[in-house]
Symmetry: C2
Subunit: 284 residues, 2 copies
């Protein structure tokens, strides 16, 4: 008996096979391209194993409401070829098995909750900071959904005095994604994110904005821990900087031991990049 998992990302589609215990025994990566380019290859891959169920964590916004007629579809998206495409329908039709679709960050949060840095807690958050910023939240042992899904990267936050560079979000003037995502780092420095040296002053501002966001998530969700992943967070030197600003901005308002020990409150992913695919494997 085999299970399938798909982590559908903006640049690549990671497909994995799990055994009866959902241990990953094989995986491939396929360039995202257009649906016509990548979906048939993914179907061929999953067909080889005759999987009994498929869990999908996808880039969004996506319709993840199982009662919706467009469940499992990509909604408005800069990837025009994917807009309106139903992952649920494509894989259900081709594979004839149970297919469950959630967002990439919800899958990652779920993976961290089951096997990673959020294991054993009752609540927690996974936030990815990369090309986009988004989060998945566990509350009382369950993922927060809603009418659509949280869009935590688009909360409005105060700009730091003196920072007046237009933010990269085309909807908002001062949201977390617009102020702190990879593209904004590039706009601020004129360099690709991976080329920005660790001593660049831009990291101080980056840590400040991420900390503002984390303070707001603590206020909104009262989560016991926040896991940070994504390409920007591969710069591990950001963690202590974020923790310091978090403490400064929270300003003692929340009087709980969890938030006072920022070394265990704001942490890297426990599954080291596999949180998304492991979470997807466990969505069903």
């Amino acid at each position: 008996m085999y299970y399938g998992a798909l982590e559908a990302g903006g640049t690549k589609m990671v497909c994995a096979i799990g055994d009866a215990d959902k241990n990953i025994i094989d995986r491939i990566s396929i360039p995202t391209g257009t649906p016509d380019q990548s979906v048939p290859a993914m179907i061929d891959y999953f067909k080889k194993y005759d999987i009994s169920a498929l869990g999908i964590g996808t880039f969004g916004p996506a319709d993840i409401n199982p009662n919706s007629p467009t469940y499992g579809s990509i909604m408005r998206s800069p990837k025009k070829a994917w807009e309106g495409f139903s992952l649920y329908k494509a894989f259900t039709d081709a594979l004839g098995c149970l297919v469950v679709v959630d967002t990439d960050v919800n899958a990652a949060a779920w993976g961290e909750y089951l096997y990673g840095a959020l294991k054993g807690l009752n609540s927690g958050m996974y936030l990815t900071v990369g090309t986009g910023i988004g989060g998945g939240i566990i509350s009382d042992g369950r993922l927060i959904h809603g009418m659509e899904h949280p869009e935590t990267g688009h909360i409005l936050i105060p700009r730091r005095t003196g920072d007046d560079i237009p933010c990269t979000c085309r909807f908002h003037q001062s949201c977390v994604e617009g102020l702190a995502s990879g593209p904004m780092l590039e706009r601020r420095t004129g360099m690709k994110g991976k080329d920005i040296p660790a001593d660049s002053p831009v990291w101080d501002l980056e840590a400040f904005y991420i900390a503002e966001a984390l303070v707001n998530y603590t206020m909104c969700y009262s989560v016991e821990r926040i896991v940070l992943g994504g390409g920007v967070m591969d710069n591990k030197f950001l963690f202590p900087m974020i923790r310091n600003y978090y403490t400064e901005l929270l300003s003692g308002y929340i009087d709980m031991p969890q938030v006072k020990d920022t070394d265990t409150y704001i942490v890297p992913a426990g599954l080291e990049g596999n949180q998304g695919i492991i979470g997807a494997m466990n969505l069903f």
Copy 2:
């Protein structure tokens, strides 16, 4: 068979008795004072009916974790006489019945979810805007708790250009409560909130800040509807102003029918001031 409910507020304690169907058949209001002043009177009241259970919605911050040794206690508080006082212990010891404690805004959200403006939905939020600002959130039919409880009034939001009056929160420079609560309205105008005329320019700023907060709550919780209560929201002319700013600030990012119809997305309480006591009556 009778049940009890207590809405513990900063100025008054509303106590109510419900029949076997939890219909409220009697209620009294006692000035909050100190615990020594008001608790014995409340106990006497509930004893008259030999209640089988008591639901309490209290001002906070409060310990609402049933597994905590200090469950049902008021935490740090400007009301020093109440700091550390355990509502749970006081009423359990005196009444010998089941006692359940949650926050005032969680109780109000629960009341609105069961019988008011959130009835029939799967998710929603109740936000009070008054002396303080705080909210209770229903997600997938359940209240969001966490390590403590949400403190939605203390999320950091952008100030509007030109507004540089120090905010009234002693912890933060730019949080919702600090910028938009009753005390800040008084600081801005030099008038008591109830004396500020409807044509004062302060209401435009007030609506702007509440709208910023609501955009953030939509992003964080993906709730299907937001109910606004509290003393400030008795100024019903604020609703259309908030709705207009909400649409402007959301800026089309969430492409869901719920948020496009702001008349049904941002609404007054359906239980018209009784949401807290009715919710408290239904916490057990």
